[in-house]
């Protein structure tokens, strides 16, 4: 709006006070309303103490709703604890903890938890595991007692192992019918190789080999306070909840320690290659493109966050704006870095209509080259990426569960306590040249792995003609054919 017009409107309103309708007609919709004052970043506060058995305890109070989130996190995961011939042991052990304790069988456990309106979830991921629940405040002590019983006194009935094994074998067979699941098995296998834990998948053989003794031994070695952080967020009092937790877990003896996160060397890199998995008749081609990436503690983390936000972290990121919105080849394209202690993957991809498989690959490559310098970054792009990352933060502490995750991730990744307070400044510092530099450094176009799961009969010839990279056929496990 030009100043003259604004003055004129003001004069009118002064002359005819109460002419609201007139003022409303003058609404200029082409003008973006300016934002109000930026909300203050309220990072939740927490206390940190230790239990006598060595487990660390953090408590973050939040009293607006009668809710509690309780989470024990264990350092180390399947990559540190499973052997290649027993992939799936950790997940089966986690499930077995819901199968009964020395004083409650599986049904009694389930019924008790249902009546408390909660469930206790045990999960073991690649580099950490957890056991926890959420409940209303009044049910918290009872749910905690059940969790302690499951943690300390699991019965591991042999018949349950056989049932879980059979269920997992069916699920594995079904996963092999699903293009996205196939891509998620083949991609890491090619990137890291069969000798690296990141490249090893759960197989029929590994599931069939697991014994009850191995489950019991895994439990004993893994669920130890020396590697554990207990997080409680919500409607509790920090000092009294410490007593409650100590009492509930009083029988958990000292033991265990944080694992080393040592990984074998990566396989020798290969020049860019398309690894084609045939899925006859597939309506779409599922893409997974990438390479091993940096660990979470890389000093380039913030530059990488800004870079990836521009490339494939948002709806209007370059990849999605081009391949979905402009070309219409897909329902959605994204990219990400799997940060952790090891070389987690950079990965981009999506599901592409079969007939545009070759054209889409050309566009993927164009955007990857683009972010590495061939398509200059605009001021608007840089500002949007930074705004998006920085202004997302105040909303991330909305639930008791998200507060727990936010605090726990500082501990698992070894980040400072004032990480969230520092975040905005670190993102703001990133310049265009940082973005291009980290794109070049961490997305290596000379050694790119391109996995495509699709209908070979219709896509192989066009892919060959596109000339992006040679094609190698693999089976659904990523073994070269």
């Amino acid at each position: 709006m030009n100043p003259v017009r604004r003055k004129a409107t003001l004069a009118l309103v002064l002359l005819f006070t109460g002419v609201v309708a007139l003022a409303q007609q003058s609404l200029d919709r082409s003008k973006t309303p300016p934002p109000g004052k930026t909300p203050f970043l309220h990072v939740p506060a927490w206390t940190k103490t230790a239990l006598p058995n060595g487990a660390e305890l953090i408590v973050s109070e939040k009293h607006d709703l009668p809710l509690v989130a309780f989470l024990i996190t264990f350092q180390g995961g399947t990559y540190q604890t499973e052997s290649s011939s027993r992939r799936g042991l950790a997940a089966i052990t986690a499930s077995m903890m819901n199968e009964g304790t020395k004083s409650r069988d599986g049904e009694a456990l389930s019924n008790a938890l249902q009546l408390l309106g909660t469930s206790i979830n045990v999960n073991i991921g690649g580099e950490s595991g957890s056991m926890g629940f959420q409940s209303t405040t009044s049910k918290f002590p009872q749910a905690l007692d059940i969790l302690a019983d499951m943690l300390l006194n699991p019965a591991f009935p042999a018949e349950a192992l056989e049932r879980l094994r059979a269920q997992r074998l069916v699920a594995l067979t079904q996963a092999k019918d699903q293009p996205a699941s196939i891509a998620s098995r083949v991609f890491p296998r090619i990137l890291y190789g069969a000798g690296h834990p990141f490249g090893q998948n759960v197989t029929e053989e590994s599931l069939k080999a697991i014994t009850r003794d191995e489950v019991a031994a895994f439990h004993k070695a893994y669920f130890q306070p020396g590697r554990a952080l207990i997080a409680v967020a919500g409607d509790v009092n920090a000092s009294s909840v410490k007593n409650t937790v100590e009492k509930a877990l009083g029988a958990w003896p000292k033991g265990g320690e944080k694992p080393a996160f040592a990984y074998p060397a990566l396989p020798a890199p290969h020049s860019p290659t398309i690894f084609l998995v045939d899925k006859p008749g597939a309506a779409q081609s599922t893409f997974a493109i990438g390479n091993p990436g940096p660990p979470r503690n890389t000093p380039d983390y913030y530059a990488l966050q800004v870079m990836n936000t521009m490339l494939g972290g948002m709806f209007q990121s370059r990849l999605n704006a081009n391949i979905r919105e402009e070309k219409g080849y897909s329902y959605g394209i994204s990219s990400s870095f799997a940060y952790g202690k090891g070389p987690g993957a950079f990965r981009t991809g999506g599901d592409i209509v079969s007939a545009k498989t070759d054209a889409a690959l050309v566009e993927f490559m164009k955007e990857l080259r683009g972010i590495e310098g061939s398509r200059p970054i605009t001021d608007e792009e840089l500002t949007t990426a930074k705004d998006s990352l920085i202004q997302r933060l105040p909303g991330t502490f909305a639930s008791v569960q998200s507060i727990n995750s936010a605090i726990v991730s500082l501990w698992t990744q070894g980040l400072p306590d004032d990480y969230y307070q520092q975040y905005s400044a670190k993102i703001s510092d990133i310049r265009k040249e940082d973005v291009v530099r980290v794109a070049k450094q961490y997305i290596d176009l000379d050694y790119l792995t391109i996995v495509i799961v699709g209908d070979r009969a219709s896509i192989e010839a066009p892919l060959k003609s596109a000339g992006v990279a040679p094609i190698v056929l693999t089976d659904i496990e990523g073994n070269l054919r």
Partner: protein, 464 residues
């Protein structure tokens, strides 16, 4: 009614608190809100809560796939995509710039009955969000062009490929709906629609659909989160007040269907493991019987002591997974069982086993403890949902749009907790009768793996 149920919850909580010595305040089964209607018919709901410095805005429209014309299946959802391609004063990209690009998010969703647009933004961007939503409610057609429609048509076709055609078992829901409902019934086709109909949609279709259904009198604007009420009312009037009311919308009465016999189908898919679906037509959101049907599904599947799960997965070990669920749309509903067998067990066997469990339930009804277990999680689920501004704004919008009462969630909550064993027994007998569809999805070439193969008719996929 409301008072009575609240008291009941209070008493329950009070007992537990006394038993454990843990302090407890009255449960927060409420969302404080204000509602009013603008002269153009727009229903406005405001729920202010400063717990998290974000605001969620939901623009809810009473239109869905059931309002589509013959030959235009999938159009309501395609239209939803068009709503993100820019409007008169907010060119393409601006919506994302001032939602996701400032740390928020946006999306839309289409069902048989409603189309819902929503964004969460940092609280200082509320006025911007209202500007964005009002521009596409008032001025979408000013920016409409055929290239944008065509690009979104391709995107939606890919959405269909990704979620239906290229998904194992992906066609199950379409087969079941098109079998339960006669071809002209508005719930017989899927929300995503057919490829042929998506190809046929025109710019003219977009204009007509917009003029009729995207008027303020067919919408609810619901705002939840950290905002100041008086200021927000001024903004709502400023941005939405001058959008003209649309023509009255006639809503033909759509009745649930009943089936007088069982229909058995078998469909060959690119899968290695067969799967069984059994579906009965039940009731929509206008019938309170749905609450007993929700409780019934919780009694039948989910936790290991739920009846079907316990029998098939644990005791007989004939199934790898079992699911049962009641789904109610505005006018119709269905109750569905899905069973994946373990190797060595046939679909015929698991069907018979499931029927035996259902027959026992129908004869005896559930126990009081089963009812308690099935509904004990309600309070946690509700209170936990209050942590999300988006969840609150959507709940209020839906109550306002469907039940003419943004606070309808309280009624629903009370009705769920009021379900008795006799109610469950009655609805099981009333709805889960012989009139049903039994669909076997089997590996290609393995028609003999169907449940009762000789009685199951092969389903032929219509060219989409």
């Amino acid at each position: 009614m409301r008072k009575h149920a609240c008291l009941w919850v209070l008493l329950l909580l009070g007992c537990v608190a006394a038993a454990t010595g843990f302090q407890s305040r009255p449960p927060a089964i409420k969302i404080p809100f204000e509602t009013y209607t603008l002269p153009n018919g727009l229903t406005v709901v405001l729920a202010s809560d400063a717990a998290t410095p974000t605001v969620a805005v939901t623009a809810w429209y009473h239109v869905g796939s059931k309002n589509e014309m013959p030959g235009r299946t999938g159009f309501a959802h395609l239209f939803e995509h068009v709503m993100f391609t820019g409007a008169g004063h907010t060119p393409y990209g601006v919506h994302d710039r001032f939602t996701e690009g400032v740390g928020g998010s946006n999306n839309g969703t289409t069902s048989n009955d409603r189309t819902v647009y929503f964004e969460t933004v940092p609280s200082n961007y509320l006025e911007t969000a209202l500007w964005l939503e009002s521009d596409r409610m008032g001025f979408l057609l000013d920016a409409l062009d055929v290239d944008k429609l065509n690009a979104q048509r391709d995107v939606v076709k890919n959405e269909r490929r990704q979620s239906v055609d290229n998904q194992p078992y992906g066609l199950a829901s379409e087969i079941l709906s098109s079998t339960i409902y006669p071809p002209s019934h508005p719930y017989s086709w899927s929300v995503i629609g057919s490829m042929k109909d998506l190809s046929a949609a025109s710019v003219e279709d977009v204009k007509n659909f917009f003029r009729l259904y995207y008027a303020p009198n067919n919408a609810v604007l619901s705002i939840a989160g950290d905002f100041e009420i008086t200021q927000t009312k001024t903004w709502v009037k400023k941005y939405f007040g001058d959008i003209p009311r649309g023509k009255p919308i006639s809503r033909p009465s759509i009745r649930p269907v009943t089936l007088d016999k069982e229909t058995r189908l078998v469909f060959e898919d690119r899968v290695q493991v067969p799967r069984l679906y059994i579906q009965w037509p039940t009731v929509g959101e206008d019938s309170d019987d749905r609450f007993a049907l929700y409780v019934l599904d919780a009694i039948m599947s989910g936790p290991r002591t739920a009846r079907l799960t316990k029998a098939l997965v644990y005791d007989q070990q004939s199934a790898s997974t079992v699911g049962a669920r009641q789904d109610s749309s505005e006018d119709v509903g269905d109750w569905r069982i899905t069973i994946t067998p373990r190797p060595g067990h046939s679909l015929t066997e698991v069907e018979a086993a499931a029927d035996a469990i259902l027959d026992k339930l129908k004869a005896e009804g559930p126990t009081q403890e089963e009812i308690q277990r099935a509904t004990a999680g309600q309070e946690f689920d509700f209170v936990s949902g209050l942590q999300s501004n988006l969840g609150k704004s959507m709940t209020l919008a839906d109550g306002g749009g469907i039940h003419n009462n943004p606070g309808y969630f309280q009624t629903e909550y009370q009705k769920m907790l009021a379900v008795t064993s006799a109610d469950v027994k009655r609805v099981a007998n009333k709805y889960l009768s012989k009139g049903r569809v039994v669909l076997s999805i089997v590996p290609t070439g393995k028609l003999d793996q169907a449940a009762k193969p000789s009685e199951s008719k092969p389903y032929r996929k219509v060219e989409q």
